[in-house]
Amino acid sequence: MAAPQGSRLGWLLSPRGLFSVFLSLGIGTLVGVVLFTMVYANGASYLSSDPKACVNCHVMNTEYNAWVKSSHGKVATCNDCHTPHDLVGKYLTKAEHGWNHSLAFTTGNFPQNIQIKERSLATVEENCLRCHQQLVEGIQHSRPTNQKVSCVQCHADVGHMR
């Protein structure tokens, strides 16, 4: 089976993905183990990934303030939602975001009310599942794998209360 498109989580859980994880465990990639445990065993401890890193940029203030007010202000950080949690994806995305962000920032070529891009949204929605997989398993199950429920259509405000 091919890795489902646009779903890194699916890939992670797919035979090949799981195999890779176990492979990394097997060769003792400690980082992987630690990350895996932190993320899946205890979400709260992952809070140490500091949102201040994002708010370094004042243009992120709006989202930061809205995050503080949101239902997830105390349970999830920026990176919990906005960064992929497979190893390669994580750093690729960070690099990509870093580039895009600084480019936008230096050129000033971005709208005041920033709109999330499709790719970033896919990342976010994978992260919803990371925490809420069990809850939504049933509603995903009756769907083709390429037509997963879009959480943000109903829950756009969970990360940022407007």
């Binding site: 089976m1 398993e137 049933g138 509603i139 199950h141 009756s142 037509q147 879009s150 109903c154």
Partner: protein, 469 residues
């Protein structure tokens, strides 16, 4: 694949396949959905929707201990509007899915009028019946049912809409089981530049969350001698498009008893109206509001207790809207009150037009004036009927609902002026009027030639009153 298997074993208590119709059996695998599904027996009113349980003494074949309220009593103008048509004898509040079959079997519209098997398409679990009758080909089975009488056909069914009608028993994916919708959506998509649309392979799940409902909650007509259930979507799904379609094919449902106008009847165009609203534009589906997710323990399930969202505002609306429950209800009621006000004003106009045509006929007004007025009567009545029959009292598309009432009022105006020689006929009505005239001539000829066989009295696509009435 591995994942799929894991989940199947998770749920599978019984093996489901295309032969299992009884929802109770499906309920073994999906008890949460089944329990909710059964609750569609409950009745509760909202300000403009829902339904009331009216006590009913079982009599004859009609074993119902409750029925829904009689709308003809609540607004007697309806009787005039539909004079000469079955709807003028019995038209009730809709209620939950659990009742769809009994309510159809026991309506006067079925018991005192001839109806085709086609009616069952939307009132019973048909997925297996169609397949069985057509030897695996649902379309063939559907065509067969359309040719039967209601009384014959209804013997073949046991359940109201059931799991199998919306779900694939193997994957539980949503699917379309009604050929009429398959054809309808194909025509609609073609009109939007997407040719040969095959709904079961090409629609997204998001679309399917509305399409499964649109198999029934739509305006329809029985096409031609075969009474093939057809959705008038070849030009689009707003009312203007649907009316233009009927005018172009020259279809007529019945002849108005008071005015003699060849009429059109509108039925529950929820899907069409929703399509005109801002929610559809924003990708909000029928299921989002009428089957909202509900957390039951550690699972979220779709609420299969399909009902008015006004009875479940928290889950239906408040995920997306941060306003209070009272505020949301009041927004809905504000819209509905405006639509109802506008509709009632248009309806008064229609009632006046009917009276005017009646008087003009009595007074022997020139025939061309009568006919011109009738063309506007046909239009005004269809437009008003459309908004009356749409079950959200305009919520699904507020400004469009009222725009239709403005067009209806304008048609009434023109009709009344036509009687006085101050307005021409609606040119789009020419074909329908011509066809109706020819049909009547043919009927008269046939009648004069004497009763050759116990033929159906009318060759039209619609049932006409039986003498027993």
């Amino acid at each position: 694949q591995h994942k799929q298997e894991a989940q199947d074993t998770n749920f599978a208590v019984v093996q489901l396949d295309e032969t299992v119709v009884d929802p109770a059996v499906w309920g073994k695998n999906f008890p949460l959905q089944y329990d909710m599904y059964k609750r569609t027996t409950d009745q509760q009113r909202t300000k403009f929707g829902g339904s009331e349980a009216v006590p009913h003494v079982p009599e004859g074949a009609d074993a119902r201990s409750t029925v829904a309220g009689q709308k003809l009593e609540k607004d007697p103008r309806l009787v005039q509007m539909w004079a000469g048509y079955a709807f003028a004898t019995d038209y009730r509040e809709k209620r939950g899915h659990a009742y769809m079959l009994v309510d159809q079997r026991d309506t006067k519209r079925v018991n005192e009028f001839k109806q085709p098997g086609t009616c069952l398409n939307c009132h019973a679990s048909m997925a297996k019946v169609y397949k069985d009758l057509g030897n695996g080909d649902a379309k063939a089975g559907f065509d067969k049912i359309n040719h039967m009488t209601y009384q014959e056909a209804t013997k073949l069914v046991d359940h109201p809409v059931a799991c199998i009608d919306c779900h694939d028993p193997k994957t539980m994916q949503l699917r379309i089981t009604r050929p009429a919708f398959q054809e309808g959506i194909k025509a609609l998509k073609a009109s939007q530049g997407v040719p040969n649309f095959d709904v079961n392979t090409q629609a997204t799940t998001q679309e399917m969350r509305s399409f499964v409902c649109a198999q029934c909650h739509v305006e329809y007509y029985f096409k031609g001698k075969d009474k093939t259930l057809t959705f008038p979507w070849a030009k689009g799904v707003n009312l203007d498009n649907e009316f233009a379609y009927y005018q172009e094919v020259g279809f007529t449902d019945w002849e108005h008893k008071t005015t003699g106008t060849p009429m059109l009847k509108a039925q529950h165009p929820e899907f069409e109206m929703w399509n005109q609203g801002v929610h559809a534009k924003a990708g909000v589906t029928c299921a989002d509001c009428h089957m909202p997710y509900t957390a039951v323990g550690a699972q979220k399930v779709s609420d299969h207790w399909v009902r008015s969202p006004m009875l479940n505002v928290n889950k239906s609306c408040q995920v997306c809207h941060h306003a209070s429950e009272d505020e949301l209800k009041s927004r809905v009621e504000t819209i509905q009150t405006r639509v109802a006000t506008s509709r009632s004003q248009a309806f008064d106009g229609l009632t006046a037009l009917i009276k005017d045509i009646e008087d003009a006929k009595k007074a022997g007004a020139p025939q061309d004036r009568i006919v011109a007025a009738q063309t506007w009567h046909r239009k005004a009545s269809f437009y008003i009927d459309y908004v009356i029959s749409e079950n959200s009292t305009g919520f699904h598309a507020p400004e469009e609902s009222i725009r239709y009432m403005q067009t209806a009022t304008d048609a009434v105006r023109k009709g009344q002026l036509a009687l006085l020689g101050k307005e021409k006929a609606d040119p789009t009505a020419a074909k329908a009027f011509q066809m109706w005239k020819e049909k009547k001539a043919a009927d008269a000829k046939a009648a004069a030639a004497g009763p050759k066989a116990p033929a159906t009295p009318a060759a039209t696509a619609t049932p006409t009153p039986t003498p027993s009435r």
